[in-house]
C-alpha cells in the first residue's frame, strides 16, 4: 500500500531532477521545461497527502490545493513563454546567462 511517504519521496526526486535542469540549462525554453518539472513535484506530494483524508468523511484539501497550484503553474508558464519570446526578439538570443550583454537587434 502506497502511503503519503511514498508520494513525498517521489515528489522529492522529481523536484531534484527539475532543480538539476534549472541550474544546468541556460536556454530559456529548457529552463521553462525544467521549472515545469519542479512545479510538478509539489502536485504529486499534495495528491499523496490528500489520500490520507480519504476513505472517511475527510475533505480532499490536498486536491483543492493541487488544482489551484496547477492553475497558477499554467498561468506562470504562459507568462514566461511570452517573456521568452520578448527576450528573443529584443536580444536575438535565448540564453539567460547574461542577456544584458547580448547584442540588441
Amino acid at each position: 500500500m502506497a502511503g503519503p511517504g511514498h508520494f513525498a519521496v517521489l515528489s522529492a526526486l522529481v523536484f531534484g531532477v527539475g532543480l538539476f535542469g534549472v541550474v544546468a540549462h541556460t536556454n530559456v525554453l529548457r529552463l521553462l521545461t525544467a521549472l515545469a518539472v519542479m512545479f510538478t513535484a509539489p502536485l504529486i506530494a499534495l495528491v499523496g497527502f490528500a489520500q490520507t483524508g480519504r476513505g472517511g468523511a475527510g475533505p480532499p484539501q490536498g486536491d483543492a490545493f493541487a488544482v489551484l497550484a496547477l492553475v497558477t503553474i499554467v498561468a506562470e508558464f504562459a507568462a514566461a513563454g511570452g517573456i521568452a519570446v520578448l527576450l528573443w526578439r529584443r536580444t536575438a538570443g535565448a540564453e539567460i546567462d547574461d542577456p544584458a550583454e547580448a547584442d540588441p537587434v
Binding site: 500500500m1 502506497a2 502511503g3 503519503p4 511517504g5 511514498h6 508520494f7 522529492a12 526526486l13 522529481v14 523536484f15 531534484g16 531532477v17 527539475g18 532543480l19 538539476f20 535542469g21 541550474v23 544546468a24 540549462h25 541556460t26 536556454n27 530559456v28 525554453l29 529548457r30 521545461t33 525544467a34 518539472v37 510538478t40 502536485l43 504529486i44 495528491v47 497527502f49 490528500a50 489520500q51 490520507t52 483524508g53 480519504r54 468523511a57 475527510g58 475533505p59 480532499p60 484539501q61 490536498g62 486536491d63 483543492a64 493541487a66 488544482v67 496547477l70 492553475v71 498561468a75 504562459a78 507568462a79 513563454g81 511570452g82 517573456i83 519570446v85 520578448l86 526578439r89 535565448a94
Partner: protein
C-alpha cells in the same frame, strides 16, 4: 493505492522528468514534459483524485502544445536550439540537486510515519464549491490574466513590425541589386565570348 501501481507510475513520472530535463533537443524535452504531466495526472487519478488528474492532463497538455505551436508558427524556431550541457555544469548542477534531494529525504525520514491525517477541520474544497466560488473565480482569473499577459508581452509591437518591414524591404532590394549585378556580369561575359568568337 496499490503499491505495484504506484511504483510503475512513479517510474514513468521519474522517466518523464529525466527526459524533460536531460534530452538534448528541445522538442524531445517537451515530449518528456508532456509524458511527465500525463503520468502525474494518471497517478493522481489512480489515487482517486480524478478531477485533479484530469485538470492536470488537460491544462498542461494545452499549455505545452500552445507554447510549442506559438513558437513554431511565430518563426521563433531558433529559440529552441539549446547548447549542449558541459561536463562541468552537469557535475555542478548534479551535485546541487543531489544535495537538495538528500536534505528533503532526510527531513522526510525524520518525520517517520507521523503524517497529518486530513480528517476534520476546514474543508478547502468548499472554496471551490459553487455557492462560495471564490477560489474557483481566483483560479480562472489567474489563468486568464496569465494568458492575456503572455499575449500582451509576447506580441510584436508597432515599432518591431515596422523594423521587420524595413528589414524585409532592404533584404529584397539587396537581393534585386545582386541579381542585376550578376545578370550584367553574365551578359558582359557572353558579349566578350561572342566578340572573341567573331575575331
Amino acid at each position: 493505492m496499490n503499491a505495484a501501481a504506484f511504483y510503475i507510475l512513479g517510474a514513468l513520472v521519474l522517466a518523464g522528468a529525466v527526459a524533460a530535463v536531460g534530452m538534448p533537443r528541445t522538442r524531445e524535452a517537451a515530449t518528456g514534459l508532456l509524458a511527465l504531466t500525463t503520468a502525474a495526472g494518471i497517478l493522481a487519478m489512480a489515487s482517486s483524485a480524478f478531477f485533479t488528474g484530469a485538470i492536470e492532463i488537460v491544462l498542461s497538455g494545452l499549455a505545452i502544445t500552445g507554447i510549442a505551436l506559438a513558437i513554431r508558427r511565430g518563426g521563433y524556431g531558433h529559440m529552441a536550439v539549446a547548447p549542449r550541457l558541459s561536463v562541468r555544469s552537469t557535475v555542478l548542477s548534479g551535485a546541487i540537486a543531489a544535495a537538495f534531494v538528500v536534505v528533503l529525504l532526510v527531513a522526510l525520514a525524520g518525520n517517520g510515519s507521523d503524517w497529518h491525517s486530513g480528517g476534520g477541520g476546514a474543508a478547502l474544497v468548499t472554496l471551490l464549491h459553487y455557492r462560495v466560488p471564490f477560489a474557483a473565480v481566483a483560479a480562472v482569473v489567474a489563468l486568464v490574466v496569465g494568458v492575456a499577459g503572455a499575449l500582451l508581452v509576447g506580441r510584436p509591437g508597432e515599432d518591431e513590425l515596422e523594423y521587420d518591414r524595413t528589414h524585409e524591404a532592404r533584404r529584397l532590394r539587396e537581393e534585386r541589386t545582386e541579381r542585376r549585378r550578376s545578370d550584367r556580369e553574365a551578359a558582359r561575359r557572353r558579349r566578350r565570348a561572342s566578340i572573341e568568337g567573331q575575331g
